[in-house]
């Protein structure tokens, strides 16, 4: 099958590309970033998904399936730019897929869609609305992109749309929000709070994407692997030191003393859990995770041992 992947140049993209090639697919990537050490056999186009040149790739290549991974999730990128990339890019992917006859479009979204709050339930279902925007407006573009992707379900009946809300990734590439948060020797947490964190090994993320490609489930699905575990345990099992800080002091420290300058709403995500119910996806595709929570944490620790200084 001809598979086009916008946003392929990430480290997760490399794993995905390798697997797709193994499965016998033709893989073509679009990304603004150069794809260093791209696996042989991948045709890479270094263009912005929103530009005409990207449309040319769709026109020439006529992909049967599109896996849209070109969303910016980290919060260091200026908000306005993120908005344009995440919404403009997502729109372009769906429009081109429609125009050039794709059969299946997969939107790779995030479980943080649901937001973290004191009164939000564990194990969100797909039909729940996003509740976290009031406290964390910086996530609005990702939430909007997710909902926009979902609207393709009625907007474009000509192809199958799968919107995936994936839990955090953790594994040897060190890719993703959680992995970045754990990178240092000491990990700051909020004193008196120890939320559950839901994550899966990168290999299982790639497995889930390939299963989606294979089974073509239509709809919106949470994708989860093993059970979530408390943040303190993630920190301990990845060999880091937990540094609990009272919330008031923590907020004042953001952007200082080596802590990233995060919006205060981001603190909700280390205060309250975001966990999802992945049973609908498992039922629709038969997906089963291979690596449990212990394996994922261990893989991360082996690849990124505790820094010595």
């Amino acid at each position: 099958m001809r598979v086009l992947v916008p946003g392929l140049s990430g480290r997760l993209g490399k794993m995905l590309a390798e697997r797709l090639l193994e499965l016998g697919h033709d893989v073509i990537g679009i990304d603004r970033r150069p794809f260093r050490d791209a696996p042989a056999g991948v045709e890479m186009h270094e263009v912005d998904i929103r530009k005409r040149a990207a449309e040319d790739v769709f026109r020439k290549f006529r992909p049967q399936a599109v896996i849209h991974m070109a969303t910016v999730t980290h919060l260091v990128v200026q908000s306005e730019d993120r908005y344009r990339i995440n919404l403009g890019g997502t729109r372009a992917v769906f429009e081109h897929s429609h125009t050039y006859g794709a059969e299946h479009v997969v939107f790779v979204g995030r479980h943080t869609y649901y937001g973290a709050a004191a009164d939000s339930p564990l194990f969100h279902n797909e039909d729940e609305p996003p509740m976290g925007l009031a406290s964390f407006p910086e996530l609005a573009d990702l939430v909007a992109a997710d909902l926009y992707a979902g609207s393709a379900l009625w907007r474009y009946p000509s192809f199958t749309t799968s919107v995936l809300r994936m839990v955090y990734t953790l594994g040897p590439t060190g890719h993703g929000t959680l992995a970045t948060f754990l990178r240092g020797k000491r990990v700051p947490t909020l004193l008196g709070f120890d939320p559950l964190f839901h994550f899966m090994h990168e290999k299982d993320v790639v497995n889930a994407l390939c299963t989606t490609l294979d089974k073509r489930p239509r709809g919106v699905f949470n994708v989860a692997g093993p059970q979530p575990v408390p943040l303190s345990m993630v920190i301990r099992e990845t060999g880091r030191t937990n540094v609990p800080i009272p919330e008031m002091i923590f907020s004042m420290m953001l952007g200082r003393l080596g802590l990233p300058k995060l919006p205060t709403g981001a603190l909700e995500h280390i205060k309250y859990p975001v966990t999802v119910d992945g049973s609908a996806f498992k039922k629709a595709t038969g997906f089963v995770h291979e690596i449990d929570e212990k394996g994922a944490m261990r893989a991360y620790r082996d690849a990124f041992p505790r820094p010595t200084h």
Partner: protein
């Protein structure tokens, strides 16, 4: 484990018998943690067995497995009743069961309280949590009087205030038997003479109970819990209020009967037939 709080050998043994899917770290999917349950049940065991020497009656009425709702009264004295029922289920059932309460929403915002309640299985009181736990064949502990019940003053300790109807709808929807129970003595252990609402607000809690010795430190009063036979209400949970209210009244009546029976027993009067667990 870095937790070095002492764990009683009996508690340790019972923890291993809990029929809950703990992972290799001793944490279940909801975040319930053996590392927290151990010390917490060790403390509860002391209060249950020695400090209050809680007496429970009719525990054979509680199903050993499967989804079930324990529904009871607050007897005054903060949430002492909840804690002792949790202890009773863990220490007196074979195999032990973990009764999971529904925590007040404000608790999840309070540092440490949030952590402790969640790790011990008392999730925030949300319908989604209740349904999910029952679907997982867990034991739910419900006080339909809610915060109105914990705020009971000493003189109101044997009374029942308004019951919410959500618990019956939940039981019907989730096809779950209700085991009514009565708790006696909480009001004697922590005789509340007043609830300080404005001071409570300062600490981010709804109120702070005031006792004759000022703070809510319990005295070793005699505590008792009476479990009734299970009650089952058929339906979908979306019935009209009249139907549901009638069921609620039945549960409330049953609890009131158990309280009366308990009070008669406390006064040394002979038991009546209906007092022994009762017919549903």
């Amino acid at each position: 484990m870095r937790f070095s709080l002492p764990v009683d050998p009996e508690v340790r043994e019972r923890l291993e018998q809990l029929e809950i899917p703990f992972n290799s770290y001793g944490v279940d999917p909801y975040g319930i943690s053996k590392a927290y349950l151990g010390p917490s049940f060790t403390a509860l065991r002391f209060f249950f067995k020695h400090y209050f020497s809680v007496e429970s009656h009719g525990i054979e009425n509680v199903p050993a497995r499967g989804r079930v709702m324990l529904v009871g009264n607050h007897s005054g004295g903060v949430a002492l009743d909840g804690a002792m029922v949790v202890a009773s289920q863990f220490l007196e059932m074979n195999p032990p069961r973990l009764a999971q309460g529904m925590a007040e929403k404000f608790l999840n915002k309070v540092p440490f309280a949030s952590q402790l309640t969640n790790r011990c299985g008392h999730l925030t009181g949300l319908p989604e949590h209740a349904e999910r736990l029952l679907a997982d064949e867990r034991m739910l502990m419900v006080f339909p009087e809610g915060a109105r019940g914990t705020a009971k003053l000493f003189k109101e300790r044997y009374s029942l205030v308004h019951f919410g109807t959500g618990f019956v709808r939940l039981a019907m929807k989730m096809k779950t038997p209700i085991v009514p129970f009565a708790f006696l003595g909480g009001g004697e252990a922590i005789p509340t003479i007043s609830n300080a609402v404005s001071i409570g607000k300062l600490f981010g809690v709804p109120y702070i109970p005031v006792t004759p010795w000022l703070f809510a430190v319990p005295i070793p009063a005699k505590l008792e819990v009476y479990y009734s036979k299970p009650m089952v209400f058929e339906g979908t949970g979306s019935e009209e209020d009249e139907v549901v209210n009638a069921h609620v009244e039945k549960v409330k009546e049953r609890i009131a009967e158990l309280i009366d029976a308990g009070r008669r027993r406390r006064r040394g009067e002979p038991a009546r037939d209906a007092d022994r667990g009762g017919a549903a």
